[in-house]
Subunit: 436 residues, 2 copies
Amino acid sequence: MPVFLDTRDPDFEERFRALLGTKREDSPDVDDTVAAIIADVRARGDAALIELTERFDRLRLTPETLAIGRDEVDAIIADVPEADRAALTLAAERIRAYHARQMPEDARWTDPEGATLGWRWTAVASAGLYVPGGIASYPSSVLMNAIPAKVAGVERLAICVPTPDGQVNPHVMLAARIAGVDEIYRVGGAQAIAALAYGTETIAPVDKITGPGNAYVAAAKRRVFGRVGIDMIAGPSEILVIADADNDPDWIALDLMSQAEHDKSAQSILVTDDAAFGRKVAEAVDARLQTLERRAVAGESWRDFGAVITVRDLDEAATLSDRIAPEHLELCVADPEALSARCRHAGAIFLGAWTPEAIGDYVGGPNHVLPTARSARFSSGLSVMDFVKRTTLAQMTPEALAAVGPAAERLARAESLEAHGLSVAARREKLNAPES
Amino acid sequence: MPVFLDTRDPDFEERFRALLGTKREDSPDVDDTVAAIIADVRARGDAALIELTERFDRLRLTPETLAIGRDEVDAIIADVPEADRAALTLAAERIRAYHARQMPEDARWTDPEGATLGWRWTAVASAGLYVPGGIASYPSSVLMNAIPAKVAGVERLAICVPTPDGQVNPHVMLAARIAGVDEIYRVGGAQAIAALAYGTETIAPVDKITGPGNAYVAAAKRRVFGRVGIDMIAGPSEILVIADADNDPDWIALDLMSQAEHDKSAQSILVTDDAAFGRKVAEAVDARLQTLERRAVAGESWRDFGAVITVRDLDEAATLSDRIAPEHLELCVADPEALSARCRHAGAIFLGAWTPEAIGDYVGGPNHVLPTARSARFSSGLSVMDFVKRTTLAQMTPEALAAVGPAAERLARAESLEAHGLSVAARREKLNAPES
C-alpha cells in the first residue's frame, strides 16, 4: 500500500520528511570493475571491446562488425510496421520543432568605454549517445537525445547500443535513422563509454556523452567526466500529480501507473485537496493493477514508494511540490496556469487534465530526459544547450584600456599578481609615450 | 626552457601530441579522507566544523563565531584603500553589466495542433561559493562567482572561506559585500563543501556550489555532486597567444607570464607565423623572469609547460588552437575578428593586442571562470546559466490530444509500456464517446 498523508495530521511533517528522504536506488559498488574495464579498453582498444562483448553479450564481433553499417540498418528497419514509422516520424518532427527554438543567440555590443564585448555559441563537434539494451531500450530516448544534438549542429553523432545475443531493436535503429545519427556500434556497458571517451582503432573518441544506462554505465560516465562532457546521471523516474476532485480517478490512476511501470524504484505521488478523491484514485490504481501487463513492476513501485497526500488547498500543494522538486509535475486542476506559476522547481510541467505525462514521453515536443531525485532544484532537462558551448569575446581599444586598465592594475596588485598588472601597464605606457 | 616546435618539422605531429598529452596536475588521492570528513560533518554538524577548523586552520570557533557577521565585515573592510574599493566597484559594475545580458528568456507558443508549449527559467534558490584561503584567495573570483548568481536571482548566497590562524582577507570581504553575498562562514576545505551540501545547525544547505579549491575541495565537490549542483572542477590555468611579428615581444611575454605566474602547473603557449618573433618573445620572457616577483612559479611553469610554436600561416594557427581548445585565447594579429571566426573551441577570446588577458581577469566584463584542460570542446565558462534552471511546459487541448495521441499510443506499445498508452487512450475514448 502507498502511504497516505494529510497535511492536517500532527505527524505530517515528520512523515513527509521521511518520504522525501526515502532512498529508492540500490547503487551497487561497481567502481573497481568499471575502472578495470576502462583501463582495458584504453590499453587494447577494439580487442578489448570484442572480448568484453563476447563475455557480456554472448556475441562474437570483429573490428569490421563492431559498427552496424548503413545497409544492415536498412535491412533491420524494413520490418518496422508503417504505423510505427509514422509515429516515430511525427514524434521526431515535434521534438525537432520544439528544440529548434532553444538555439541560443550570439551577442556583441560596444560599451560606453569603447570595449566590444559579447559571446558566441558553437556546437560540440562530436557526441556519443548510449542506448541501453533489453527492456529499457527505448526508441523515444534515441530521439530525445539525438535530435537536440543534431539541432545544435553536432557534426558527428555516434550511438553505442548493446545487442545481447545479436538481437538488435529495429525501432531503435529506425529512431537513429530518423534522428540523423551518423554511426552505430553494437557495444554496451562501461566498455562502450570507455570507447566513446578514449577512442579505439574503429571508434573515434567523442567530446560529449549522453544517455541513460545501468550502474556500470553510470559509473563509467562519472569516471570519464572531465575527459569528455556528460549529461546528468539519471536516477529512477518520478511523477507528482496535483489533482482536484473534478478529475476522472481512472485517468489520474493511469498517469501514476505510467510512471510506476517504468521501474520498481520509480515513484508516483498524488497530491489532492480532496481526501475522498485521493481514496478513489487509490482504488482505481488497485483496479488497474489487476490487469496491467507490467503490474508486477508497477505494483511494487506503487506499494513501496507511492504516496497520496491530502492538502488543505492548492497553495499548500505548490509548497509541497517545490520541496519535492519533481521530475514530472502534472497539474490537473481548474486553473493549471495559475498553479504552474506557483511551482518553481520541476523538470517538466504538464498543464491540465488533457495533458497526460505520457504525451511528454513521446510526442509533446519537450525533452523527456529530465532531472530526477530533487535535482530540478538546480538542473534542467536535456536540451540543445547540452550540445553547444559559449566562447566569450572581448576587444579593448587603446581608449578603453586607458579607462579600465588602472583598475585592473590595482586589483592585480591586491592579488600579488605582478605580471597581470604589468601586461596592462606596458600597454598603457605606450599610450602615454610621446608619438614617435 | 619551453619547447620550440615548428609545423614544418618532420616530427612536429609527434611532439605536438606529446604537448597536448602532457599531464600538468598531480591529483593526490584524497578521496578517503574527504569521505570521512563529509561523513563527520553530516553526523555531527557544527561540532565537526569547529573541530576540523581548529585542526586545519588553528582557529577556535563556536557556533556563534562560525559566521562572519555584518559588523565584523564592516570593521574588516574599513581598512581597504579607497583606490582598491573603487577598482573592485568598477570591476563589479562591468561584470554585472555583462552578465545581465545573459539572462535567458522564457518562451511560450501554440503549435498548429493546438498544443501550447514552452519553457520557463527560474533561479536556483540558494548557492554556496567556496573561496580558497591563502595565496589563491582572489577577490576577483568572488565577484566572478557571486555576481552571476545574484544576477540570476539567487535569493541566498553563502560564502565559505578558510581563515587560517584567523587571518581574513579584507579584499575578499569587500568583494563579497559589493557582490551582495548574504552569508559568510570562516570554514574551509572538504568540511565547508559538506556543510554547504548537507547543512549543519548553523549553515543551511544550498542547492548549488561553485568556486575553485584545492584537491580536497575538488574531491568533496565531486562527492556531493547530485545532492547539489556543482560547477566544473577547474584544472590549472592556460593561455594560448597567437601573435604575428607586428607585436611588441615584451607585451606578449608579459601576457604569457601573467598566466605562468598563477601556478607552476599553468601553461602558456605562443603560436606565431614568424620564428624570429617567437625567439624574441622567448628572450623577453627570460628578461622578465629576472625580476618578476613570482619568477620562481612563473619560471617553473614556463620551463616545464611553456611552448613556442611556429606555423606556416594563421590558418594553421587556428587549426592548432582548436586542437588545444585553450581556456584563454589571445589573438594579437592584424585582423583578430577574422581569425576569431576560425577558432571554434576556446573558453574566452581576447581580440587584438590592446586586450591583454589580464583585462579579462578583472574588468573586461566576461567571466574569468573558464573551462580548462581542453574542456572548452564541450563546456563553457561560468555564467548566469549556471544559476538558473529550465522547466518545460506543455498543455494539450482535446483536439491536440486527438491529433498526436494515437502516435503516442503506438510508441508506448512499441516500448511495452501499456499504462503510458492507456493514459492517452482513456482520454481519447472520452472524446469519442457520445456527449452525455
